[in-house]
Symmetry: C2
Subunit: 311 residues, 2 copies
């Protein structure tokens, strides 16, 4: 017998792991979004409640990432099952740590359990990407996949979809600083060049190879050396007041490396202890204040194994 | 007291590890080049003997990769020490498995021991690159570094020079097939585009991240999935008769993946056993014969730890 209601959570995530732009993201331990699903008999997907969004999210299911993920799944499964969605946002909207993806991930994970669908992970990612598309105008998986699977996830290919879990040997802590700036994801994508110098691409993939080696072999200095992005950061960094000093301030406070989270405006830094990660957060917070940007600071261990969960 | 003569060897290598074009190469267990150095009192670097080159190599030191590596080192060290070089080539010239790099690597490794220079590895690579430059017209390290250090080496950056040893968990065997074709290295470089679509670059670095993960975690199917090159292979493959069928023939014979070795004309395939590697060699050899290309086949374990050595 199907359960009539189910509760799930899915964690925040950082996409565009610096040099590994568009292919690598990782999940955080906290914060996470929470979803409660209930079957209904009216054969509709409805959002019945949203909290934590300061009334910024639409209640129409097809305009909401969680709603659209479920609509997509039911459509592909030829199901007319009605579902009511309650969405409890704990990840601030537009914070650059995968808020929209976490809602979609939690929703599809809950649907899978509620209807006992036994969906393969790739299928869940695929449906959740349709949800993410509502928020970012782009079907990408580098927040969705870590949010669903936990840990550090490589999106090796989108067509066909192929994801790889990268075993992280190192114990890493992530500092995220979200300055009060608005960057439209679609705009941040539109300003990237459609072609890049081969020489820059080669430098970039040298760093990506070094980053993966550092992550899998617990070599923090190698991770730090590799955390440079020749492609997106020089362009997107200009949209973030104070970004020019972010890396140096983070390194001076003991961080391993730093970069832009997703397409910004949040920045992130990695450290090898929680103490350092807190220190880095304080220093970066002060840096943004100097640039007249109020900001929120999050510190979380990199989530090694915990993706979406049924509570 | 300095020894008056010394003998060293350095192994063959495969550069341009498919998707990891220009940044990743690996050493083979065999064949290798052999160098004997002797101090002389005439304050000159001289090549006194070359075997195995079918009289194709110049005896002038500055036109020879081994000679030039030594000239470069002595110049940087402000030394006027005279050196006589005997060079025993066991790696066929132009075979696409780092023949010129192995001679330079063996020479610089022997010089370091002969004169008790205690050079750091990066310095030896740097001098050997000056030798490699004589043969390829380009200072690159993706054959030199594996030949000196052994194993699979990432050239993360050329300026400043930074190399990273990639720990290979898997036991891999390499089949190299050298068809009787001539491809000029400088030409093979000149036909590459100077800029590439960002979308292709992203696909390429997704594969690179997967390749490194597969190598470090002993995941052969991941290594195979990652061994596709969107940048150089579509262009350089056209210079190699029969190349269009190489991957399929190799996979059909049980290989994990295949690609071009260096800038060609040799192709290589990886397998998880020596037996399969031999089978792959036979099938690829027949493929090239069908295209009227005589060929030589080499099978060697990927060399995990053994670079240049003093005998």
């Amino acid at each position: 017998m199907l359960r009539s209601s189910i509760k799930s959570i899915a964690p925040a995530s950082v996409a565009n792991f610096v040099c590994a732009f568009d292919v690598l993201g990782f999940a955080l331990a906290t914060p996470y979004d929470e979803v409660i699903l209930r079957t209904n008999s009216v054969k509709q997907v409805r959002i019945t409640k949203i909290t934590g969004d300061q009334n910024n999210l639409a209640l129409q299911a097809e305009k909401n990432t969680a709603g659209m993920a479920i609509i997509s799944a039911l459509k592909h499964l030829n199901s007319n099952q009605g579902i009511d969605i309650e969405l409890y946002k704990h990840i601030p909207l537009g914070s650059g740590i995968g808020s929209s993806a976490a809602s979609a991930a939690a929703a599809i994970f809950a649907l899978n359990a509620l209807l006992k669908l036994d969906l393969p992970m790739l299928q869940m990612i695929d449906y959740a990407m349709d949800g993410e598309n509502v928020a970012s105008g782009c079907r990408h998986a580098d927040n969705i996949a870590p949010s669903l699977m936990g840990g550090c996830i490589l999106v090796r290919s989108l067509d066909p979809l192929d994801v790889v879990s990268i075993p992280i040997a190192a114990n890493l802590y992530c500092t995220i600083v979200h300055p009060d700036l608005e960057i439209n994801t679609k705009y941040a994508r539109s300003i990237l060049p459609t072609s890049i110098p081969l020489a820059d691409a080669i430098k970039q993939w040298g760093n990506i190879a070094a980053l993966i080696t550092g992550l899998t072999t617990n070599n923090c200095s190698l991770i730090g050396n590799a955390m440079y992005d020749y492609i997106a950061e020089p362009i997107r960094g200009k949209l973030i007041k104070g970004f020019a000093q972010v890396r140096q301030v983070a390194l001076d406070s003991g961080a391993i490396g730093a970069g832009i989270s997703g397409s910004g405006p949040s920045v992130f830094a990695l450290s090898d202890s929680e103490e350092t990660a807190n220190k880095v957060g304080q220093a970066l917070g002060e840096l943004f204040l100097k640039h007249e940007c109020k900001n929120q600071i999050y510190v979380s261990q990199i989530n090694k194994n915990n993706g979406a969960k049924i509570l």
